[in-house]
Amino acid sequence: MSSRNSGYTTPKPCKHLANYKLKHGLQGYNLIQDFFKINPYGRTMIDKSKTEMPRCSFCLGYQGRFYMCLICSSMSCCSSPESNHALFHSQSCVGHEIAVEMERAELYCCVCCDQVYDPDFDNSMTCKHLMGLPGSGNGVVLGGGLRLSKRKRLDFGVDLDLKRTKRLVLSRDQRSKSCFPLGLRGFNNLGNTCFMNSVLQALLHAPPLRNYFLSDRHNHESCRIRSTERLCLPCDIDIIFSAVFSGDRTPYSPAAFLCSWWQHSEDLASYEQQDAHEFFISVLDRIHQKLGKANVVKENGDCQCIAHRVYSGLLRSDVTCTSCGFTSTTYDPCMDISLDLNMGPCLPSDYMSKSNKPNASTADSTLAGCLDLFTRPEKLGSDQKLYCQNCQEKHAAVKQMSIKNLPLVLCLHIKRFEHSPVRKMSRKIDRYLQFPFSLDMKPYLSSSVVKKRLGNRIFSFEGDESDISAEFEVFAVVTHSGMLESGHYVTYLRLRNQWYKCDDAWITEVDEGVVRASQCYLIYYVQKVLNNKGGEDLSCHPMSTRADAFVPIAGCC
């Protein structure tokens, strides 16, 4: 395990801990390693015997906090500063100053009467659980032969070579009267196609995707797929990029694209209103179908088509048996994350008159709340009992999701449409969701979530992804207004720190307040490192001097 700490600065040990380490090293830690347990509810503790109650060697009391001396293993209780038997122990036995608290498996200095920290202690306690050694009660099942990369390189693989940039981006279009940045163009509504128009806007302005097509990586004129199979959705997308970035501001009709998409997805071909999220996923899917096979698949099994390179992430699912605590882990790739709306903070407590907590029904939901809900341990219902490998029987289980790998562009889908197959009804949840413009995804990463499950520790978690940026910036928000059957999608785009409303054919500048107040449905975030130059106005400066607009980003090791 890496000894590098990320974001944690190890507190300086008190002199008693330092002395203990000098004299005893890791002896004491290793002796109690096997007693470190994680109970089914995710609590870490020292458990010597499941059946016996710990008793204080001084007063034989069985209540309060219990501390086990790391030198002589005697148990002492502490109920108050006047009745601190752990302190007495250190006074009566010289040198017996460091103990471990039974209920939380944390180090305690009996003389300082305070918790102390030692990365070696945390390593010693948790190493078996992280490695998934047999007998430690934790299995790690990797789905589909995926290798857990120890360190993920920031290798975007998207060629941002200047020379191949399309010519039409260079020239400043004389027809353009507006001062809007290049790449903003309205789409005509072809009959309930706002679902398509809104998602297209979000796709067109996803920095890595935009760079890919504008660097001529998929040229519709020289595409081989098109000449053999005649249908190639990436080509149609390339055509739209050319049209939108041409400088022509008149609204564009994506009829050819629509027709092509219909041919790709016959079941969705109609003039009915579709779901924007479904459309988004289907477009990515079609891109992958056309480009995925051609691309060389790397050893670790990841597809290298542009859709996956940009949007694909990896989710981790931990299922813990509530009977024995055995956890099984699986990994699943994802192109977006669908979030349930959380229902705001909890109910107020009337006796705490000083606190001003709002009522659950009136409080706003926040994106952080939804993400918390997503990564919260969820008790699986009694009708969903799962077979536990350890117990060899079916038991109730607890499931916890977390994000193992973040994509370059993160699409968060807010589940506003509820479909009930039982009642054969669908309804829309209009609840307002507050979302940030800058998003830090660190707390939802597997490294953070699993780390938390192991209690209050100081160490870094297997190849800690501190070199991975978890900071994101929003660049597009697809909003929905109206009712389920007859609503309207509108996209807000952020270019050069200015927000634009893309309502089918009409593009207008708006204040950020309007965006914040909108009813978000799909929120698109891009990794902050990619966004720095992404918002640059491509029309104002000739490419030759604006070299850094398309800087190839070196993989960082």
Partner: protein, 121 residues
């Protein structure tokens, strides 16, 4: 409420008693009813479940957030480096105990009662 009172009284008595190095004398006495109940709760795993239930309820109603805020305030007042775990526990415990919602107390008591009625003492 009855059981809670008995346990409180017993605990208060044991706190005030000075520590005796000769603990061997104490092993001869009969275990009190509270100890027996505690043993039964632990052995059956019910204590762990009750603790988990209690944690859930206290988080739901905002009690834990309230305690966190109190701890932060105390740490800020005394200075970050002058606060110990013991100190915090000592200061927060009375406030914490006082602000547990009655509904939570009632629910847990009910659970303990039904456990006791289902187990042979």
């Amino acid at each position: 409420m009855k059981i809670v009172c008995i346990v409180e009284r017993q605990r208060r008595a044991s706190i005030k008693r000075p520590p005796t190095p000769d603990a061997e004398d104490e092993t001869d006495r009969e275990p009190t009813i509270q100890e027996i109940i505690n043993i039964k709760l632990i052995e059956s795993g019910e204590k762990e479940r009750l603790k988990e239930l209690l944690r859930e309820r206290l988080i739901e109603c905002g009690w834990r957030d309230e305690m966190k805020a109190l701890c932060r305030a105390h740490a800020r007042k005394k200075g970050r480096n002058n606060v110990t775990v013991d100190d915090l526990v000592h200061v927060i415990t009375p406030k914490g105990r006082a602000s547990v919602p009655d509904s939570v107390k009632a629910e847990l008591l009910q659970r303990i009662r039904s456990f006791l009625s289902s187990t042979a003492l």
